[in-house]
Assembly symmetry: C2
């Protein structure tokens, strides 16, 4: 660490007190223009920047928001694709935080040593946004005693936390209803993600909602397990094709699985959506480019990050306020894999066609 100049050096060189320097750096309009000018130019000359640690210690505010996310790369998920949504959340969070003049500290929580890192981060920030699957419920509760915490995409089980969640159930419900009402499919199945995924479960419930509303038989459980991966989607597809009567439409719990399945169908020369209609969930970047383009449910990832930070700011402003849960709705994106063409065959509010 090189000898960075301090506020004392600047004050001395300016012939003013540290107080003056300090204030000039904070208030846009403080002191006589002459003093201001002088302080600012000396600071620049010396290359002085207020020390964040000292400032943080004095004000008891770090000016930093922390964002904890799971290190999905380690789970063996597809190299680049899957963890992508995390990036969008990060972007959203950064955006709002920067607008408030703060900075974002990010940390992937890994299986190894992730816990200690989380605590280290907790000591450096004013508040924490914790994404689903980063930390165990227990650790979340522990950390929440130390710094204000907002949970992201967690299942809003505990009312003791601020939450931002995506309404997975409604999203799946809307998509399933589209398949039933617009395209007239009667024989639909749902392919789920990994065991214990709350997201996958919620989507299944939405799927069932629609079947029930349409008077169709409601299954007790998903037709297959694709583990949220492309490979898993292929496997699930093979399994479905091998069954007595393959379904007319398949609602996949996410896009990766849907894309894997489409690959299988394309290779088997089974027409999509002619013989089997396919829908995904997430609207990852490639969904638009696969053939046929994938009808899916778009999650507002960026907004998720934005709202989480805003919720966190609100909490910092008023630590004693009651906890809030913000629900963000999804947006159905109708492309070709469900049977929609270029024309917009649906006019539901909040849906989109491209």
């Amino acid at each position: 660490m090189s000898q960075r100049p301090t506020i004392y050096a600047v004050a001395k060189r300016c012939g003013v007190s540290t107080t003056t320097v300090s204030r000039v750096m904070q208030d846009e309009s403080f002191g006589s223009p002459a003093t201001r000018e002088r302080v600012l130019s000396v600071a620049l000359e010396l290359g002085w920047v207020p020390n964040g640690a000292a400032r943080g210690l004095a004000t008891r505010k770090a000016g930093i928001i922390g964002l904890l996310f799971p290190d999905l790369g380690e789970l063996g998920v597809g190299e680049e694709e899957s963890p992508l949504y995390v990036d969008q959340v990060v972007r959203g969070a950064e955006r709002v935080t920067a607008a408030a003049g703060q900075a974002v500290l990010i940390a992937a929580v890994r299986a190894s040593g992730g816990k200690s890192l989380a605590y280290s981060v907790a000591g450096k920030v004013d508040g924490l946004v914790i994404m689903s699957r980063s930390l165990s419920d227990k650790d979340v509760a522990l950390i929440a005693r130390t710094v204000p915490v907002v949970l992201l995409a967690h299942k809003p089980g505990r009312k003791s936390f601020d939450h931002v969640v995506v309404d997975n159930r409604s999203g799946a419900r809307e998509m399933t209803s589209h398949l039933i009402e617009v395209h007239g499919y009667q024989d639909l199945v749902y392919v789920r993600g990994p065991e214990g995924s709350p997201d996958s479960h919620e989507r299944f419930l939405g799927f069932c909602d629609s079947l029930e509303a349409a008077g169709l038989p409601v299954p007790e459980k998903p037709a297959a397990d694709g583990g949220f991966t492309e490979a898993g989607g292929k496997k699930a597809m093979w399994q479905l094709l091998g069954s007595a009567k393959p379904p007319r439409a398949i609602v996949f719990g996410n896009d990766e699985m849907a894309i894997g399945a489409m690959d299988v169908l394309n290779k088997a020369k089974i027409s999509i959506p002619g013989e089997v209609a396919i829908t995904g969930f997430d609207d990852i970047a490639v969904a638009r480019h696969v053939n046929p383009s994938l009808t899916t449910v778009k999650q507002p990832m960026r907004e998720l990050g934005e709202q989480a930070v805003q919720l966190l700011f609100a909490r910092l402003r008023d630590p004693k306020a009651g906890t809030k849960t913000i629900y963000l709705s999804t947006e159905s994106v109708f492309r070709k894999s469900c049977g929609c063409g270029k024309a917009n065959t649906n006019s539901k509010k909040g849906s989109k066609n491209d």
Copy 2:
């Protein structure tokens, strides 16, 4: 800010001094097991986490690395796709930093107020990784007086900085040579990105290198300007199609433009690569999924972030060492748009086929 417990509270409750508490938190093996146990459990009980600011002030180390990147979202580039490489760099940086027990602070530098934010960040970190196009050269020089800086993907003009750069020129050269030598194309053009983009220029130079080496006529400037966007790529393609003799192969400065062009060709029923071969640059996620799959040059974005942080750590360890420049090489990815099929028609070292 709720009343967080301090080290005093913990020390008192344990019946030891703050020194002991402090040491237990740092050394994995300090003091008698009994004391350790006691301190740790009391810390947990009280929900105490060492205050980062105070710690930073005392040690003169923040334990935080800063990463500055341009806010491309504001440039009006395609919604989600383009800034994607930033995310990869962030991931790489986070990875290495976390491995060293540090955290990463990220900040998008926006046109408005970006500068002051950059200085604020500088005060909070031990060192800074600054991505190309985030800050003006002048601001970089200024900030570099305050904290150690590593430049990422900047043109390594100034020898006074540590750099990590991608060897764009070699990448373009290798790709162009592939088109000439393996596929035998004689009539090639290059489509550039926005005015003044050093990346685009380097790639053009590599393109020219190959032409010259093959004894083909070397153009003075790129055949068209696609501005690095999909729309720009379409426009450039129309322009090329309108010319007297459309080229046999087109080397695009990036993938977006290539994809835009492919769209035009597909709609015009012009066969790729039968009539026109296409290559891109970057290997964005969708490159693999377009039809035909796009042959392109992959940039090691993640590694870029990793190396930058490692370089920064080295600099922090030894502030007086000479500056270093790390060159990372690209990797050609041969898919179908250049004429390669499933079989690997090329055996160059460091290339890849999928």
